[in-house]
Amino acid sequence: MSAPLTVLAGGPGGGPVIPQFGSSNGCVANTSALFCPDWVTSNWGSVLEPALLQHIELSLIAVGIGLVIALAAAVLAFHNGWFSRGFTGIAAIWYTIPSLAFFELFVPVTGLGTLTIEIGLVGYTLLVLFRNTLEGLRSASPDMISAATGMGMTPWQAFFRVNVQLAVPAIVAGIRVATVTTISLATIAAYISPLGLGKPILQAIQDSFNTELIAAGGLTILLALVADGLLVLAERAITPWQRLGRR
């Protein structure tokens, strides 16, 4: 790979970019240039920012709906082993279906649009959210439940105040995996309908345009890492007792 006219923002020493060097047209026109910051600044508002916001919206909706379904299903499965096996089986099969094929197969049913994408994305969150929640609910020992009952709690009170409380770390861990998975799969959904960061990524792949490949790909990676980091912080904030248990 030769990329002689690479222009890096700020330069290696952090110095200012010389204005005349690598003007937008010159850099973008040069197909071997690796990265043109000018293209990013001039296309941020029209291409990258809307795609980023759409991507966040798609992912939030999918994880939110997936969480509601998975929580309800896990509470049901906690009291019913048969339901637990059935739900796990369906979610596990769903998980092995290539996401692009899933989107394509649902287009004739639910149309070319957000609904099809959200159904697919929600489906891929279910396995990990359901399994983690159920495992978390089951982590309460029988002794804890007897203690709660002994303190005068009704069975439902004991369930919500002991089992559910203890399941929180496992649920948040599940949300972390579900979120990064959703951000990843949502890029592929753009192949079906041009939404989110997948749109500039696929466009750049088609055009073999290095700057857009790096900008859109990098932005997606950044989004996933930031989302994961925020969830780690959220987990620490809502489960302060976990830190006391360390060491």
Binding site: I97, P98, I205, I221
Partner: protein
């Protein structure tokens, strides 16, 4: 109904295309899981054995897990071009987290009394490693490889975006030519492949499990099911 008939027709009429694509998808997946295993097993096992630098091993697995595959392919196109290497790197990144975390957890949660017992019997450190630690860790390690294999087989079709048409992605990304029936047929083949490989590795996992450990196998399996849960567990055991 007609889609189902067309799909059956496709499966019957295009066995050459499907078998060839499925074969190369399997080969690509095996290569990716192989490289990921070669990279992450030593790291996971050494950090697990030393019970140090666990933060490093677990964090790098978490970061790798967050990387969207299509984004890696896209950046890869600009940095190392299209083709086999591109999809290979993306799939290796996908496969590393479950293998790494499982290897780490497998070795770090080995019962210390077992190791001390072996030392007390006069075993040298390599004997302890080969005859006690490794057999005890193998089931969880294979479970990690199993999870990774399913991820990789279900994702390898993205090779089509990385500029190689070797996988079933050539059918899935070409609905215009092969029709919805072709997409469904390719999907069925991939789901069957994923479950077949998972079943095979499950059998291998069972066969490699020492008889004494099979008794507590269910416990270990529950631990292996999910890497996210392991993170929690490694925190509580460290």
């Amino acid at each position: 109904m007609s889609l189902l008939n067309e799909t059956l027709d496709f499966l019957a009429n295009q066995p050459g295309l499907l078998v060839r694509s499925a074969g190369s998808q399997l080969l690509l997946s095996a290569a990716a899981v192989g490289v990921a295993t070669a990279v992450s097993l030593p790291v996971g096992m050494i950090t697990g054995h030393l019970r140090r630098w666990s933060f490093l091993a677990i964090s790098s697995a978490n970061i790798a897990r967050a990387l969207p595959t299509l984004a890696i392919i896209a950046i890869g196109i600009s940095l190392w071009g299209i083709g086999f290497l591109n999809i290979m790197i993306a799939l290796v990144v996908l496969a590393i987290p479950p293998i790494l975390t499982n290897a780490y957890v497998a070795v770090s949660t080995i019962d210390h009394t077992m190791v001390e017992g072996a030392r007390g019997m006069g075993m040298r450190w390599w004997q302890v490693l080969a005859r006690v630690e490794l057999p005890a860790a193998v089931p969880l390690i294979v479970a990690g490889i199993r999870t990774a294999s399913v991820y990789v087989i279900a994702t390898a079709y993205l090779a089509s975006f990385a500029g190689t048409n070797a996988t079933l992605g050539s059918v899935i990304t070409n609905e215009g030519h092969y029709g919805l029936a072709g997409v469904l047929a390719a999907t069925i083949v991939i789901v069957v492949l994923a479950f077949a490989v998972e079943g095979l590795l499950g059998a291998l996992q069972y066969a490699l499990t020492p008889r004494g450990i099979r008794l507590t196998r269910r416990l270990a399996e529950a631990r292996a099911v999910d890497m996210s849960r392991q993170e929690k567990e490694t925190v509580s055991t460290s």
